[in-house]
Subunit: 198 residues, 2 copies
């Protein structure tokens, strides 16, 4: 992208730094946003407004416009059950189930020694403070089924149990719509172990 | 993404409108850009600066900071040979070959009746003006090998030949690194027809 003028190159670099966007896609996005000046201006204004208004919810650490997000500020939600997730965007699919009447806690990542992410990079201290303050009875771990997710859950289970809280994790098993034939053996092992009486 | 505050939802929508970014990716990008306020501010500033400085090159119609882009403003480039491409980002890989000493012309799309893109949506008038003004001897068509690309090339060939210009298109054949076994028959047919004497 070397034959582009410096300001355009800078914008391409900005897009390129975002996750899941490679250099070619970044260039395409920069050209698209610059080709419609009115929309480009609106994009910049929306970003500035969002940046000016955004803060982290003092309870669950999600992005919010007030010191309490909608869920934590909702008096009907049960403050004594916390569902722990890795990322802000994990809340949406869990909320759609309608199965969780409690609140959430966003870790903003998972323990990953390879990437240098240790527990103190996550919002674990804030979680422990909430557990103590709100007389939390149960913490539900809803983390990805990956080595990072497992490591984080092991770590959290240990320190939460030391506080005398019940800790659970989401069930493992065969997902909706899948065939036994094509299901991996780790999933099938979990499904056997956690089989449910009919 | 309904439980997010309106300004954050707006920013997610802005990202979602960009090509190749779905709603989930858009949310992830919005959270990423909002989670580092200094970088987010820089992104907005860069976008505003680029928007304020950007114009279209009056010759080739690429995005530029002056009325002439670097290539069209370069006295060493041959103004009498124009390579026609569909998109701004197509210039980069062609330039890397070092095989084209002339200039470019960006159509900003290809003819696509299904999407309602007719020739008058493209910068064809500007191309014809250049052909007449600069005594152009050859126009090289470097468009995608797709139905849209073929339709656009057929259309351009007709009107350019009426002006008495030589029109060519990039060669078709077996690409670098491919196996005969796995090459499709349309490509192999082109490779047969255009075979080169050793």
């Amino acid at each position: 992208m070397n034959h582009f003028p410096p300001r355009i190159r800078q914008l391409i670099d900005d897009f390129d730094m975002l996750s899941g966007i490679g250099p070619k896609h970044a260039a395409r996005l920069a050209f698209q946003i610059l080709s419609d000046k009115a929309r480009g201006k609106r994009f910049a204004d929306d970003l500035n407004e969002a940046l000016a208004s955004v803060t982290l919810c003092r309870e669950c650490q999600t992005i919010a416009e007030n010191s309490l997000c909608e869920i934590c500020g909702d008096k009907k939600r049960d403050q004594s059950v916390i569902c722990v997730v890795a990322h802000i965007q994990d809340v949406e699919p869990l909320e759609r189930t309608g199965k969780h009447a409690g609140t959430y806690h966003i870790l903003h990542g998972m323990v990953s020694p390879l990437e240098g992410i240790t527990p103190d990079h996550l919002t674990i201290k804030a979680l422990l403070d909430r557990v103590k303050k709100n007389k939390v009875s149960e913490v539900i771990l809803a983390l990805d089924v990956t080595s990072e997710g497992e490591a984080t859950m092991l770590y959290l289970t240990k320190i939460l149990k030391d506080l005398g809280v019940n800790v659970s994790k989401l069930a493992r098993g065969i997902p909706m719509g899948s065939n036994i034939e094509y299901t991996d053996e780790v999933t099938l092992s979990s499904a056997f172990e956690d089989r449910k009486k009919m």
